[in-house]
Symmetry: C2
Subunit: 206 residues, 2 copies
């Protein structure tokens, strides 16, 4: 985190509307800690990536969508993670992503706890987080200035930050959520975290 | 296998052209043995299912296809399974599937070993198995009558068997490969075999 660590960070790409991203978010910091790697959280707009890459949300693919609706709660239960199907689902997570990057630039220590709180509201409690008012309520519970946040998410530079991050992710090959990059090595999906551990355990640069 | 087993069988659906099906095929019989469950192997025509369900092959989805081409050999190496990207890929596996069901009806003990041999040729050695001549060579190495097999795969009842099995799978919700059903509980993907073990370990009917 502070530059004394020479090993590569874990880059964690996710969409706040991705249930598998939520499940991965329960685990990734502990994995980072276990192997002495910092985790950088990058919320992105998966819808924009799907549009450009021709990929689709699982929820939109007939039988695959049916499976996902069964699979996610089953996985959450096996992991001991709270889970409630939110209504509506899926949603646009633009407000939450903009808030995240604004925090990262202005009150960095609160950014990841904020991301976790957003995920917890949406998939843990099943509460809508698509509207800026929802996002502000979550932020204010953490002592963040709601008025400043409300103002920030309408600013062009903050909007652009989310676009840039999403474009950057796509350039790096990110096509879904969760997606991890560690020293250039890609891992896709919440069911591949054992591979991340195996990779870190062997340690390419360790 | 012989009716003395009261617990539900493991129904294993796969396409011979599915690399993740190949990886799952390395493990599923051992899991069945460990938990006292018989495994029924069901090769199906995933292309026909994709057409009807709107799902797509990973290989056809831009960045996801790129990831898969890296992911499969990495997974195979982690599992210690031989792997060679076959050329051509993907292929129609109609001849191999017809041969499998003909064997199942006429020389049942050879059906699963034949399926394993087909997979080993295609993804282990990278040898094309799309043509009936390829399939006959594999069968003859196992002492199966090549002439009878060549004749069988052109018969209407054998062709219909593959269509029926594929339709039946789709009716059961199968949308990809590998796909498992155990007492109605579905598991999709070669990276969910830990869930199968967990499910069997708890034993709904045990």
């Amino acid at each position: 985190m502070n530059g004394t660590e020479q090993k590569g960070d874990i880059e964690f790409y996710f969409d706040f509307s991705s249930p598998y991203g939520y499940l991965a978010a329960q685990k990734i910091d502990a994995i980072g800690e276990r192997y002495g790697r910092h985790v950088n959280w990058h919320p992105i707009m998966l819808g924009a990536i799907f549009k450009q890459t021709g990929n689709s949300a699982n929820a939109d693919i007939g039988l695959k969508g049916d499976y996902m609706r069964m699979d996610v709660p089953r996985l959450a239960e096996m992991m001991g993670a709270p889970f409630t199907w939110p209504e509506p689902f899926p949603i646009s997570t633009l407000a939450a992503a903009r808030a995240y990057y604004w925090l990262l630039d202005h009150d960095a220590d609160k950014a990841v706890p904020f991301a976790k709180a957003v995920y917890h509201h949406y998939f843990g409690k099943g509460v809508d987080i698509s509207d800026i008012q929802d996002v502000v309520l979550i932020a204010e519970e953490m002592g963040i200035d709601g008025a400043a946040l409300t103002d920030a998410v309408t600013r062009d530079d903050v909007k652009q930050r989310v676009k840039d991050k999403t474009g950057e992710a796509m350039d790096l090959g990110v096509f879904g959520s969760p997606y991890f990059l560690i020293e250039g090595e890609p891992f896709f999906g919440s069911d591949r975290m054992w591979q991340i551990e195996r990779f870190l355990g062997k340690g390419k640069t360790a």
